[in-house]
Amino acid sequence: MKLSGAQMVLACLEAENVEVVFGFPGGAVLTLYDELFKKGVKHILTRHEQGAIHAADGYARATGKPGVVIATSGPGATNLVTGLATAYMDSIPLVAITGQVATPFIGTDAFQEADITGITLPITKHNYLVKDIHEFPRILKEAFHLAGTGRKGPVLLDLPKDLQVEEGEFDYPQEVDISSYKPTYEGHSGQIMRAAAAIKKAYQPVLYAGGGVISSGAHAELLALSQKGAIPVTTTLTGLGGVPTEYALFLGMLGMHGTYAANNAVHHADLLIAVGARFDDRVTGKIDTFAPGARVIHIDIDPAEIGKNVLADIPIVGDVKLVLQEILKRLRPGDTREWCDRVLHWKKDYPLSYQQKDDHCLKPQFVIEELYRLTGGEAIVTTDVGQHQMWAAHYYRAREPRTFISSGGLGTMGFGFPAAIGAQVAFPAKTVFCIAGDGSFQMNSQELATAVHYNLPVKVMIINNHYLGMVRQWQEFFYESRYSQTSLEGSPDFIRLAEAYGARGLRATSVEEVAPAIKTALQIPGPVVIDFHVDPAENVLPMVVPNTSLVEMIGGWEK
């Protein structure tokens, strides 16, 4: 079958069962958009390419399927950069298709030319500049394959304008054969036996689970291992939702803003079982004081993660779901009763806490607890980056995998709202909340137009502290309260901003107004922005003092 390059893209989307693409047109993708028009593919037009790629990312995180985004050459392509880096750091499958100037113009500084494959080399799993139409079917197949297998990640295809028109034989490959790309899925059986033996011998084991658990769908196995082995479990930010929050041995998040129980358990562990996690510095604190007495079992699909930051005593390369299944088959629990008692005491005696005293000074934590209460923890929640993100991690307590969506590795402000749009597109009937910062929201608030345009009932709750709060907190703690450039004066009236777009705007400034505002928002069938005016002086606690060990924490649990 002869197809043009643009038609090939659409045929590929069909073959890959892509139900929606996010994007923004321009000169170098006119032909592609023309085919899209003819075929009637579902396309979400955002108001900025960054919005499109974060939406595709949110879609991917909510569904597990690759998100697809299209942008034009030059500025369209460079607007994808932050989104690609965000997805790359959190191993999210994306396929980004950019237009490029026509082949004869490449390298001539032609109008809207940017070397996007060069620019995105370090922030994509792989990228392609298509130069020959005959290679394109293979490249399309490879792109989806690479994005969604092994350690997932974003793949970019740069497709010159002339190749969108040029025809070639299209026979979509069934199989991929990349001799140099063969991810290991099954763990080494000898290592798995050693891991099982180490678990049997351990008195103070801890499971430390990361985004890999969500990515491979290993939450059931993780819970089973924790239950059968009587092993307390903590997760990273991107692992949240991987363990049911009400589960007794779940200790919450670990790391810089981890719980007392989680950080102490890891610090005093004699065996640390890292599952799909990568020992990020926000997790470990000062690396040489991290889990000082623990042997380490490190399970990850990416061999390069093992031994990168922390040496593993028992490295296991493989898909964490498959590896956990094998460990479970051989599991004989050790004697961890005393340890579990101790850990549960920490959990009980040092809970996360805040004080909501004065009715007129609303605490951000209270707002998020109310959201949790009123949604039963059953909404999909996305976050921006900053204090509100940490409070969301602490108090929203997502129950299910893929319902807590946050930019972990890159920490991208402005991620939350477009990601919520993507999640809502994936699940039109679900309740989707974006817990936003007043600073972060303004980085992509133009996407209100998108939410209104497609009537996506996303609810944005702005935790409005009038500050770039997280930065302000660091200035308070470590720079003697010199608040350099962190006050957000001049921010818009968010109700009127929402209304200007045709969305609804609500506000809550006191304790009594919180629940009614959330309830009202839930009843409105379209997009809503709720502006919660919260205590600007509130800090995220506990906090590990930077560059110290995980147990050197500034309080927050005192009663």
Partner: protein, 166 residues
């Protein structure tokens, strides 16, 4: 510590940038790099010398293996191998000193490949130490310019790099 890596790569546009970019991005220093074809069409061989401790090198190798166009990475440092580099040296050579230079070149089994009224180009092949020694001697006459290929390596005996365990 110096490590020598032989990297087999698919001969695709940008692959050199991918490999060298990875080194600089992750903070590993390339001391020497040579790229050339292999017997297999579409596959090139890069020989890279890095100065790093064993754990770092392990990490380099793993990161290289993640590049989709990288087929195989082998650390040749601890293998029995032969390595060579070729250098072209342009030295000042007034007529009065030519025979001296010629003698020196002969000692190093170097070849004179160009002569002009006041300079010569000498081609010399060998391992690092020999090349260093040669350059030291040539400095006496005055080196005007050098060009070098970078070091390339093969395993001794009949075993080929592809057969090494990675």
């Amino acid at each position: 510590m110096k490590r020598i890596l032989a990297i087999l790569v698919e001969d695709r546009a940008g692959v050199l940038t991918r490999v060298s970019g990875l080194f600089s991005r992750r903070g590993y220093n390339i001391q020497n790099i040579a790229v050339g074809r292999t017997m297999e069409p579409g596959i090139s061989r890069m020989t890279v010398t890095v100065d790093a401790d064993p754990l770092t090198v392990e990490q380099v190798v793993k990161q290289l293996n993640k590049l989709v166009n990288v087929i195989k990475v082998s650390d040749l440092t601890d293998e029995l191998s032969v390595g060579r580099e070729l250098i072209l040296v342009k030295v000042k050579a007034e007529p009065g000193r030519r025979s001296e230079i010629q003698q020196m070149a002969a000692t190093f089994r170097a070849k004179i490949i160009d002569i002009s009224p006041d300079s010569m180009i000498i081609e010399v092949t060998g391992e690092e130490q020999k090349l260093q020694a040669f350059l030291l001697m040539m400095q006496e006459f005055g080196i005007k310019e050098i060009a070098s290929t970078g070091k390339i390596c093969l395993l001794r005996g009949s075993k080929v790099t592809r057969e090494l365990r990675s």
